[in-house]
């Protein structure tokens, strides 16, 4: 019976591959995806390999057994898996379109649980498996271990991925059972906030003063004394210990941790099933009790929104208002926004650590700071691309089966895209200016540089958001099964590649500006007119590039949507 529940999903994938695309187009897409994915996997592998080499070669500074970096990696993975599984469980067990049919059919709770559990487990973890593997292989190669390590890795990862899935089933089911449907969002938000705050406080309490870091060796010492990843009640530490002991034996009870992993996975799965058996019927009924959900004063709220946006054209106001309401009332979007904000925090935190490397010679310090400013712009732009690929790129496709409303209304397609663009540009630019400026502040850059960073972020955002909306329209898919698949589609990949190219090109004028400013510190001064001409030219190049990219993508999107009418 379980395969029967999974079969529709497999058949959907098969039919999509077979029916919607010509073989040639599909083959071309597969090649692009394969090359890009291999590039990323290779990057992860090389990056991890080099990092492990540094760790191995600096044992005089701090002996860092492989268990510790592995524990850090798996802890990060665990947090991400908890969130993605929570979204998956909510969709599969409480909001799925097929649930009425399944619950009305003569299948047992065990079958329903097993089918949906398998579905969520694979759906939420396959990407984690693919991207964790090169890192695990890199560890194996660095420590030159045999094939048993790889078998062990596969054998231990399986229960490790089951744990967050089972935990999510338990937590989400309890939430849905005991809290009214309209409070689910608040409860999840509180959960995520508590998780982030606990992690932050624990992290702070566990580390030495990062401002005293003087070089890479200090960084290694810092990682070495971090206590949270080494807490022996966290499954990530069990997994890291099993693999770490195989790489570099230190006498830890690896077998015990292996038993712990399997017993916890099995135990939690059993508890998850018992929770479903006891609570699912009631929890499902409550989650469907939409009558008691949000009740708004629509008339007053509309008047307020109109009063706040007198400058907006009526059609733009309608489209932007609708987009904001849809986004803010969608719980899955909220969870993922929290996840991305968490990632932004991690980015800023790590960036601050980089700056903490002090006591460099004066000349090197100037270059180091210039490099950090440059890196801040580049990395910040990639963070914005990640945010846009998750939220902005799918915005046209998310219209889904309601797109007929826009198609039959007297609005030009280009105006629909422009409205989407402005709707997303303002918050993303606001967020990016905070990231860029915080990054600059974190490295004690002068105020001028902070401001230039913030302004540069608005310009770069213009290009990225424009491309996200435009390419989102080019690769629009209104027949999606699950909204999260849109951000992981071929189109999203093309957006990220295109966006990366534009970011790299944008870094040229940014680099010129930073270079000109840096060489002033060495006495190579330009005349005032030369300085202003150079700065203006670089700024104009940045603006033109991003404006052109956004306009090109929006036009391409418009043409693609027109083609759909033919």
């Amino acid at each position: 019976m379980i395969p029967v529940l999974i079969k529709p999903r497999l058949l959907t994938v098969k039919n999509r591959l077979k029916g919607n695309y010509s073989l040639r187009t599909q083959f071309g897409r597969d090649i692009v995806i394969a090359i890009f994915s291999l590039g990323i996997l290779w990057g992860i592998h090389r990056g991890t390999f080099e990092a492990v080499q540094v760790i191995k070669n600096n044992t005089h500074a701090a002996y860092l057994p492989p268990t510790i970096p592995l524990a850090l990696l798996f802890l990060l993975l665990l947090v991400m898996l908890m969130l993605s599984n929570a979204v998956g469980v909510l969709a599969a067990l409480y909001h799925g379109r097929d649930l009425d049919l399944l619950i009305a059919s003569p299948i047992s709770k065990l079958t329903l649980f097993a089918g949906k559990f398998t579905d969520v487990l694979f759906g939420s973890t396959w990407m984690a498996i693919v991207f964790a593997m090169p890192a695990i292989v890199a560890f194996g190669q660095s420590y030159d271990v045999g094939w048993t390590y790889y078998v062990l890795a596969i054998g231990t990862m399986l229960p490790y991925f089951v744990i967050p899935c089972a935990l999510s089933v338990i937590l989400i089911t309890i939430l849905c059972r005991f809290f009214p449907a309209h409070r689910t969002r608040e409860m999840l938000l509180i959960m995520v906030l508590l998780l982030v705050m606990t992690a932050y406080m624990a992290f702070r309490a566990a580390q030495p003063d990062s401002s005293k870091l003087s070089d890479i060796n200090e960084l290694l010492r810092l990682i070495n004394v971090l206590s949270i990843p080494q807490a022996d009640w966290i499954p990530s530490f069990w997994l890291a210990s099993v693999l770490g002991e195989h790489l570099d034996p230190s006498g830890r009870p690896a077998f015990l941790y292996l038993v712990l992993l399997y017993s916890t996975a099995l135990g939690l799965t059993a508890v998850a099933f018992l929770t479903i058996r006891a609570l699912h019927t009631e929890a499902y009924a409550r989650s469907r009790d939409t009558r008691s959900t949000l009740r708004l004063q629509s008339k007053a709220a509309h008047r307020r929104f109109r009063a706040l946006t007198p400058f907006l054209d009526s059609q733009y106001r309608a489209l932007i208002g609708k987009e904001l309401k849809n986004f803010s009332r969608d719980i899955t979007q909220t969870i993922q926004l929290m996840l991305l904000l968490g990632l932004c925090m991690i980015y800023l935190y790590n960036f601050r650590l980089l700056h903490a490397v002090k006591d460099l010679p004066n000349t090197t310090k100037i270059y180091w700071q210039a490099f950090l400013v440059f890196t801040n712009v580049g990395m910040g732009a990639f963070v914005i691309t990640a945010v846009s690929s998750r939220f902005v790129f799918p915005s046209i496709s998310l219209e889904g089966q309601t797109f007929w409303l826009l198609q039959t209304s007297p609005v030009k397609i280009y105006d629909i895209l422009r409205a989407k663009f402005w709707c997303w540009y303002v918050p993303v630019a606001g967020m990016s200016s905070i990231i860029f400026a915080s990054g600059a502040l974190a490295i004690d850059a002068p105020l001028k540089i902070v401001i230039v960073n913030a302004v540069a972020s608005w310009v770069i955002c213009y290009g990225i958001v424009g491309m996200a909306v435009g390419l989102g329209a080019v690769f629009s898919n209104f027949e999606w099964e699950n909204a999260s698949q849109l951000a992981a589609s071929f189109g999203s990949l093309i957006f990220m590649v295109t966006s990366s190219i534009v970011i790299c090109l944008s870094l040229i004028p940014v680099g010129i500006l930073i270079f000109l400013r840096t060489i002033r510190n060495f006495g190579y001064t330009l005349s005032t007119s030369q300085w202003y001409i150079s700065v203006t030219m670089a700024a104009l190049l940045l603006v033109w590039l991003n404006h052109y990219a956004a306009r090109w993508a929006l036009r391409a999107g418009e043409n693609a949507l027109r083609q759909r009418m033919k």
């Binding site: 959900t293 709220a301 009526s314 009332r329 007297p410 609005v411």
Partner: protein, 245 residues
């Protein structure tokens, strides 16, 4: 008000609509009958500008749906066969959204929205999210959305599906009243009773072509079926040209 002239539509090898021509006047209810897959929805989707015909022209109040789409859409209201609307908006918010897309003045929109919510029995639900509405309520809200900007042409695709007897009666009465006020109404249905009851003229469409068109009396006399009801006529005509597609 609605003019279709030699309209054809092909999807790959499949000919969905073939050389259809028809005209619907102001104040008239025109019923389009056909079996599943006959080409009714494709015709309607072309009339509303969702898809373009491969050949032929469609004019709504004189505006070509391909060359002047915004002007044609501005005078037209559309109720699709399935009420897919924004689940995360309240009923009233949805109607505001439509009113603003059609650039209605806010006072006029408020009045019209109040009137429609009252008329279609949705006033008590106006501040609830659409996701909590039943299928029939969504259908009624979609109808309100099609009427909020006071269109001169109303196009409905299977409008009675999902409506309870009260809702169905309400819609039929409303359609008659709108037509009496001068609105041009085009509806597709496979419910012969509905067509017989409210349509001034009818067309039977089959395999993408119009088999016959006119008033019920004209159709009877054209085909020598003077004693038959619409059901017998429909079965007779569609049976001679083939079964389900």
């Amino acid at each position: 008000m609605i003019e279709l002239s030699n309209v054809s539509k092909r999807f790959g090898e499949f000919q969905a609509v073939k050389e259809i021509s028809l005209e619907v006047r102001a104040g008239e209810i025109f019923g389009c009958l056909g079996m599943n897959g006959a080409g009714k929805t494709t015709t309607i989707r072309m009339m509303t500008g969702i898809i373009h015909p491969n050949s032929g022209t469609i004019r709504i109040c004189g505006f070509d749906t391909v060359s002047e789409p915004e002007r044609a859409k501005a005078v037209c209201g559309y109720v699709p066969d399935r009420p897919y609307i924004y689940n995360k908006l309240t009923g009233r918010e949805f109607l505001y959204f439509i009113a603003e897309l059609y650039r209605m003045r806010s006072e006029e929109a408020e009045k019209q929205i109040d009137k429609l919510l009252e008329e279609y029995g949705l006033m008590d639900w106006q501040d609830e999210l659409v996701e909590s509405y039943s299928h029939g309520m969504k259908q009624r809200l979609t109808t309100c959305g099609a009427l909020v900007h006071k269109p001169r042409v109303l196009i409905l695709d299977e409008p009675m599906v999902g409506l309870d007897p009260h809702g169905s009666r309400l819609l039929k009465d409303s359609l008659r009243r709108y037509a009496a006020e001068g609105m041009c109404i085009f509806l597709s249905t496979h419910s012969l009773n509905v067509a017989e009851e409210i349509a001034d003229r009818l067309a039977i469409i089959h395999k993408g072509q119009i088999l016959t068109a006119g008033t019920l009396a004209q159709i009877r006399s054209n085909h020598g079926l003077s004693q038959n009801g619409l059901e017998e006529i429909f079965i007779e005509l569609t049976a001679t040209t083939g079964s389900f597609t």
